[in-house]
Amino acid sequence: MKLAFPREEATLRVTSLLAFIALWQVAAWFMQSSTLPTPTVVCTRVYEEVISWVLPRHLGITLWRVVISFVLAMLIGTIVGIAMGRSRRLDLLLDGWLILGLNIPALVTIILCYVWFGLSDTTAILAVAINKIPTVIVTVREGARAVDRDLLQVAKAYRLSFWTTLFRVFLPQLYPYFMVGARSGLSLIWKIVLVVELLGRSDGIGFQLNMFFQMFDIAGILAYTLVFAAIVMLVEIAALRPLEQRLTRWRG
């Protein structure tokens, strides 16, 4: 259904959010248990954690790891994906590795990375990137295979330079695939970064969540989760969606 006004859309989104909070509140009242604190308790906790600078510090470290491993995974995945999409030989050569990479459980990669390369930040970022790279490759390879040869022929006939061909003719055809890769990539990386932190770092959201778990501090867990979810939403609204609109403007 197409909505007539942006205002209507905003109303629906806010209503849905309020309904969620209301449900949560009702459930907490009924259960009257320390395992499900009310929204008010959680929000107070968020406030305390923020003004004490504990949450911002850990959040900053986690975001930093997310950004680095995301950029790394997109970069390597894109280059390898294009190469595999364009070269049949390379595709056959690496396809087996790719299937292996896609199917190894994240936990195995993380454990092995820590064992082999030591408990360091570099290892943590590497482990996350390794988990993500295969899915980027698969998406970008699909795009590179679907590239329109006719348009590349135009570039060749008019003797366009390599860089002009790359940025004005070739890559724009892959933008939709980048967007898919970036979306699924971010959601995967958010999740894996926490596991990596839980297993082998002494800071970051994952580490904090583990601490709260040990102390059975549910309000703490929910407070961190809430902030984290808010950040993810913010990235979607402030970065991914405008970027997508910009890149696919011509379809309008």
Partner: protein, 254 residues
């Protein structure tokens, strides 16, 4: 002078067998001349253009222009407009020539072709005729010394195609461009060309080289063009079977 000497051009077809597309083809085009190449579908007309443009290097033969292999300044118009859908009309034209003069020239060309109102529109929102006008502007913005055209006006309705042909002739006369225009429509060839060259079915060979002395401007509906067409059909029925524009030209007659 554009000189084309092709001894043999072959490529493997889908079944893996060798398909000889062109053989013993020798063609000279004077500077500023508009030559139409006519032949049945599948006779290697598009292959010939790909060889001339350098898109296809795998050939036993040479193509030179003024004594050297043509590198820059080649315009190419394909059967489909082949515009970049993510670039605006102006950006599409500017894609092949990026300088301030080119920008000025692109605007002038597009305005002269009545596309001044859609400079910043995307090709997806334009009609087929308009998209082809943009492609024609793109071909002329580089001020080409050689322009290759591969049945560029097929699948357009007659008035739109005629309008585009007139635009082509206007630009060609202004720019003194050498044009090689491939078509399977005999009447189109007769109405456009200084010369019409007939290719046989595959492997394509030059079978008739006919100067056209009809005065310009001409159109595909002129009595003189129609008379010439019927005269040719009478004199060379076996050669031209299936090429008259009111008959299906999709079948290879040989």
């Amino acid at each position: 002078m554009l000189e084309i000497e092709i001894n043999r051009k072959a490529y493997p077809d889908r079944g893996g067998r060798v398909h000889v597309a062109l053989s013993d083809l020798s063609l000279r085009v004077k500077r500023g001349e508009l030559v139409c190449i006519v032949g049945p579908s599948g006779c290697g007309k598009s292959t010939l253009l790909n060889v001339i443009s350098g898109l296809d290097h795998d050939v036993d033969g040479v193509v030179t222009m003024g004594g050297v292999v043509p590198q820059h300044g080649i315009g190419f118009m394909f059967q489909e407009p082949r515009l970049m859908p993510w670039l605006t009309v102006l950006e599409n034209v500017m894609l092949v020539a990026r300088s301030d003069e080119a920008r000025q020239r692109a605007r002038e060309l597009l305005t002269a072709m009545e596309l001044g109102d859609v400079l910043h529109a995307y090709p997806g929102s334009l009609s087929g005729g308009m998209q082809r006008r943009v492609a024609l502007a793109r071909a002329f913005v580089i001020d080409p010394s050689l322009l290759l055209m591969d049945e560029p006006f097929v699948s357009l309705d007659a008035p739109t195609a005629n309008r585009l042909r007139n635009m082509l002739i206007t630009l060609w006369q202004r720019c003194n461009t050498t044009v090689v225009f491939v078509t399977h429509d005999l009447r189109e060839a007769l109405s456009l060309g200084d010369r019409v060259c007939f290719l046989s079915g595959a492997p394509g060979q030059l079978v008739l080289d006919l100067p056209i002395d009809l005065p310009r401007p001409r159109s595909a509906d002129d009595a003189a063009v129609l008379a010439l067409q019927s005269k040719l059909l009478q004199e060379h029925p076996e050669l031209l079977a299936g090429l008259a524009s009111n008959k299906s030209a999709e079948e290879n007659p040989q």
